[in-house]
């Protein structure tokens, strides 16, 4: 559903995205994971036709993003990082407006609005102006809006950024429901656990490049299943082991208090770059 070949974007002399190549299969949840400034959002903006690539190519649903932007736009749903809803309009009006932008017929618009407001748990708020909604509710409405015209591919840019843990879990539940429905999803995140929980495959990005790409389990298996770290000592490098026992054994030789736990995608990032992913 998504194919990129050497996709590159320069802003002046700054290479925001450099020769990025990957494919996303139909029905897959594909994540771009990386710290702020890694090039995740720029990649999504090129795939959603908001930015022109400097070089390389990309296609979505079989259409070239540079040469066939209108065809691409008909097949995609975009759920941006920014809560760009019309705050003066009600929840229903926001969805209706989106349906009109996509030339949906009146009865279909009304039925889909009702279906999606129930799906995201905002039916009771259908006539409430967005300005009176909480951040979590707005995020759910944004998801409903992105799905309104039944896109084949949905792009989500940091879908849970700024939300409290409870609201984040709620969004994860919605994304898992979408995943079961077979929709293709590409999301960016800098939350490790989000990529781990939701994605079938993850591309780890740093400084505009993909430095690793695989399923979360396979990526973690590359570094070792268990991690040993000194508590409160970020200057001492983490160590990775294939078994818990091996990690415990190594921990006995350390002079600091140690923590043994299952490896995460952040451990993968640290092992590849020597840096933490967040911050």
């Amino acid at each position: 559903m998504i194919d990129t070949t050497n996709l590159t974007k320069y802003f002046g002399t700054l290479g925001a995205v450099q020769s990025v190549s990957f494919s996303v299969n139909r029905g897959e949840v594909f994540g771009l994971l990386g710290p702020n400034g890694a090039g995740k959002t720029t990649t999504i903006r090129m795939l959603t036709t908001l930015l022109s690539p400097s070089s390389g190519s990309a296609s979505v649903s079989g259409y070239d993003v540079a040469r066939e932007p209108l065809q691409v736009k008909r097949t995609i749903g975009v759920i941006p990082q920014m809560l760009n809803l019309d705050i003066d309009l009600t929840c229903s009006q926001n969805l209706e407006y989106h349906g009109r932008l996509h030339r949906m017929e009146g009865p279909d618009r009304a039925a889909r609005t009702s279906e999606l407001l129930r799906f995201v748990g905002l039916w009771e708020k259908r006539d409430t102006a967005v300005e009176h909604l909480s951040g979590g509710m707005r995020r759910r409405l944004l998801i409903a809006r992105g799905l309104m015209h039944r896109p084949q591919v949905v792009f989500m840019d940091e879908p849970t950024v700024g939300l409290d843990p409870q609201a984040r879990r709620l969004i994860w539940g919605l994304i898992e429901s979408l995943k079961r429905s077979g929709i293709t999803i590409m999301l960016t995140t800098h939350y490790i656990e989000e990529a781990d929980a939701l994605c079938d495959r993850v591309a780890i990005m740093r400084e505009g490049k993909i430095i690793a790409l695989d399923g979360p389990a396979a990526l973690k298996a590359r570094v070792g299943r268990y991690s040993l770290e000194c508590i409160g000592r970020q200057d001492i490098p983490r160590k990775f082991f294939p078994t818990r026992d091996a990690a415990y054994e190594a921990g006995r030789g350390e002079t600091c208090d140690v923590l043994v736990r299952e490896a995460t995608l952040e451990d993968v990032f640290i092992s590849l770059t020597g840096e933490r992913i967040e911050g």
């Binding site: 930015l51 209108l70 809803l85 003066d88 309009l89 407006y97 989106h98 102006a129």
Partner: protein, 244 residues
């Protein structure tokens, strides 16, 4: 063409806060009318007629400009830079042409509304004006011209300060110099020629001629039409460049 969603949204916003729409459309033109028409201009004569009759067509043109350019450029600039609501439209299948036309038409409607309200105020004050179909065609063209200019300015401005600069260096000088409050031929050369380069000057001259029952200048109609085409084409190009 599918510009109707943009009009629909504008209608929803106006329906939600109609008094805000009415007040914002009326404040400036009524102030101009009171200050220059009834205050400063009381007892003044221009070309044998009273000043209020002279100045009202100019203020109507000015009002059409301000109320089409201002709301379109401000709301579009905010939606581009601050709320990012423009991105929803840019990633929809609307073409740059649809987006520009929809936005320019919303500006046109606002401009026309304030102009018509001002006409009513003028009539209530006893001003005699000859209203014809041509008068409303020129008024519509004026409002559309500046609606399109508003789209172009919003897309060109990279910051809110840039937007303020458009007002300071383009709109405000035109408001005072473009034949609204005085006839351009009262100015010495080269100022008269410079003022004739403004699109609003031609809108004022045309509306003034039509309101007095005179023949409008074909040259002024052409200038206004060329400006409209130029602003609209520029706006379409800029919207396209932004991803539309």
């Amino acid at each position: 063409m599918n510009f109707s969603p943009i009009i629909w949204k504008e209608m929803m916003l106006i329906r939600r806060k109609p008094w805000r729409f009415l007040a914002s459309s009326m404040v400036m033109p009524v102030l101009y009318l009171v200050t220059f028409g009834w205050g400063l201009g009381r007892g003044m004569n221009v070309g044998g007629g009273n000043y209020l009759e002279f100045v009202l067509p100019g203020i109507i043109a000015l009002s059409a400009m301000n109320n089409s350019f201002g709301p379109v450029s401000t709301s579009m600039n905010i939606s581009k830079l601050y709320t990012k609501t423009l991105e929803e439209v840019l990633v929809s299948p609307l073409t740059a042409w649809d987006i520009t036309l929809g936005r320019a038409l919303t500006g046109m409607v606002r401009g026309l509304f304030s102009a018509v309200m001002l006409l009513l105020v003028g009539f209530a004050a006893g001003v005699n004006m000859h209203l014809s179909l041509n008068f409303f065609i020129i008024l519509t063209l004026t409002a559309f011209c500046f609606g399109a200019a508003g789209v172009g300015a919003a897309m060109l401005a990279r910051t809110h300060e840039d937007m303020a600069n458009f007002n300071s260096f383009f709109i405000v000088p035109m408001s005072f110099l473009a034949g609204t409050f005085f006839s351009p031929n009262q100015l010495p050369q080269p100022f008269e020629s410079l003022i004739l380069a403004y699109p609003l000057t031609h809108a004022s001259l045309l509306l003034r001629a039509l309101a007095s029952g005179s023949e409008p200048s074909t040259g002024s109609v052409l200038v206004l039409a060329v400006y409209t085409l130029m602003f609209f084409s520029l706006a379409v190009r800029l919207v396209k460049r932004a991803g539309g």
